[in-house]
Symmetry: C2
Subunit: 319 residues, 2 copies
């Protein structure tokens, strides 16, 4: 959420000459996305996002992400593909970092989406999944179910520094979720976004204008994607207040495009519990490894513990 | 250089209805300016900068800054005036902060301006000063000459933590500059920008398209403004390499519009030494009061000590 690599106007002006995009008119470092450096770039022709990939995105994964965005954009999905230079290359280097020039999309990320907006976002995810049935590449979910126990063990008893008893409580939940987790063949797998929080959906009014920040995209259960989304959208930030109307609108919007199979529908609560464990653990790890006085805002891991408790008390996601 | 106050899309959408500027299409937090929160805002009609004023800008000073920008904009100067709402107000409140919606200006801040670009920037300052001869408001220079000895004393012997011997060396220079400093009546005073670093000049090619970040603007010697500019533009960042060609181009560009009076010309070196002391002291204070591991980049105070030594060895700014 900051600009880590400073790009000079002169270096950017040179960089843009590789592309057929006009000349530099303005650029501003923007506070957005996962830990990359992003600039909003305006040329005499159009606007773009320039992304320099910092340590959290592996350069080796970029071809996968770019192929994914191209595939979706070619099928009319509202995703921001990278711009190819005159030689057809999308992945470049600038200031010692892998860099892409990406189409700018209009729209704003909502802080308090309504049920109608959640319905539209669910539908947008459904259309994205439908457009991916013929996408052939795969990428491991490096934050997927196999990684939760090892990350839990790495955090260890320090979890109790976040909240007294969290180590035991989360350990118990983790055991339950792992034993309930579907087998690979039990339901459809697909490339998924895996992080479609309201931050990553651009909207104008009730219309979705952009799905962004695909840098956690990976291969996993298709229904896990909507479970992640449900856990992110249907609660307030602190995870205290569950809004069933929002949650139902998301699921309804989604299943209009991709009807749930029986196994998916039956597993939704466990997938949502898994999503809570995934975000709780990554936030806990960051929390335990970020100094309290650092300028980076640490996200509260317990906001996902509260969600987990809510799901634990539910029979199913649909009321 | 970060976004301190988070504004939601919903709050911004509401805020914009006060103005006749169209509807919100996009907004991004940008890393820019002194310690304010800035957003680049796009509506169905135009683009704007939304600034929320954080602690470094006193709310009581905002009417002065806004009157200054209006005055300059009315006289065709490339400055970004605040947009008035339907009731004529320019200064608002948003998310508990004083806030202004400001016209967006094209152009980029250069990292390595050429002599021709420096000439254009000097001319732009000259035109700005010429446009201010009939501006009646005044504001104390809170970083002006009367404040250097107190700030030096507040830093005290801790200056030696920045560089061994800096306390004595800077004390000696400060005494010299204070005794050489012109009397108030000795040369023209004006409202000045007081911080016209390359960061604060937007350019397209060799043309100046914007003068921005007027939040240090104050009443002081007119020639002190060009001295500040000279110390910022004519050296590399570290203050090691002086580029006389750039310095002369700046002064030449300026005096085409506002010819130096004899007293100004004679005092330029001392004014530039004063500028070095001003930036050295504010950087030293920040350095001594910012933890080394904070995410904020501390600017090297010694970059201004090196400039000060260069000016100390000069007979005059013009070769």
């Amino acid at each position: 959420m900051a600009v880590y690599t400073q790009v000079s106007a002169e270096a950017l002006g040179d960089f843009l000459t590789r592309f057929d995009v006009g000349e530099l008119v303005s650029f501003k470092g923007i506070a957005e996305g996962v830990e990359n450096s992003n600039y909003l770039v305006e040329t005499t022709r159009d606007r773009f996002i320039l992304t320099l990939y910092e340590k959290r995105v592996a350069a080796a994964d970029l071809p996968f992400f770019m192929a994914l965005l191209d595939h979706l954009a070619e099928r009319g999905q509202p995703v921001p593909p990278a711009i190819a230079d005159r030689e057809g290359r999308e992945i470049h280097e600038l200031c010692g970092r892998p860099a892409c020039l990406i189409r700018f999309l209009p729209g704003v990320s909502l802080s308090e989406p309504t049920a109608e907006q959640a319905r539209a976002a669910g539908t947008a995810m459904g259309k994205m999944h439908a457009a991916l049935t013929d996408f052939d590449l795969a990428r491991e979910n490096t934050m997927g179910v196999e990684h939760w126990q090892p990350l839990f063990d790495k955090c260890g008893k320090s979890l109790n520094e976040i909240s007294q008893g969290l180590y035991d409580d989360l350990g118990f939940q983790l055991d339950e979720v792992l034993s309930a987790w579907p087998a690979e063949t039990q339901m459809p797998r697909s490339v998924i976004h895996a992080d479609l929080f309201p931050d990553n959906v651009l909207m104008l009014g009730d219309d979705v204008t952009g799905l962004i920040d695909f840098y956690f995209a990976c291969t996993d259960f298709r229904a896990y994607d909507i479970a992640v989304m449900h856990s992110a959208w249907s609660f307030d930030n602190e995870g205290r207040r569950f809004d069933r109307e929002i949650g139902n609108a998301l699921l309804d919007g989604y299943q209009k495009i991709v009807p749930f199979e029986a196994a998916e529908r039956a597993a939704l609560v466990d997938l949502a519990r898994g999503a809570c464990i995934r975000f709780l653990l990554s936030r806990a790890w960051d929390w335990l490894n970020t100094p309290a006085d650092a300028m980076v805002t640490r996200k509260d891991p317990m906001a996902y513990w509260r969600r987990l408790e809510t799901y634990d008390a539910m029979d199913g996601l649909f009321a």
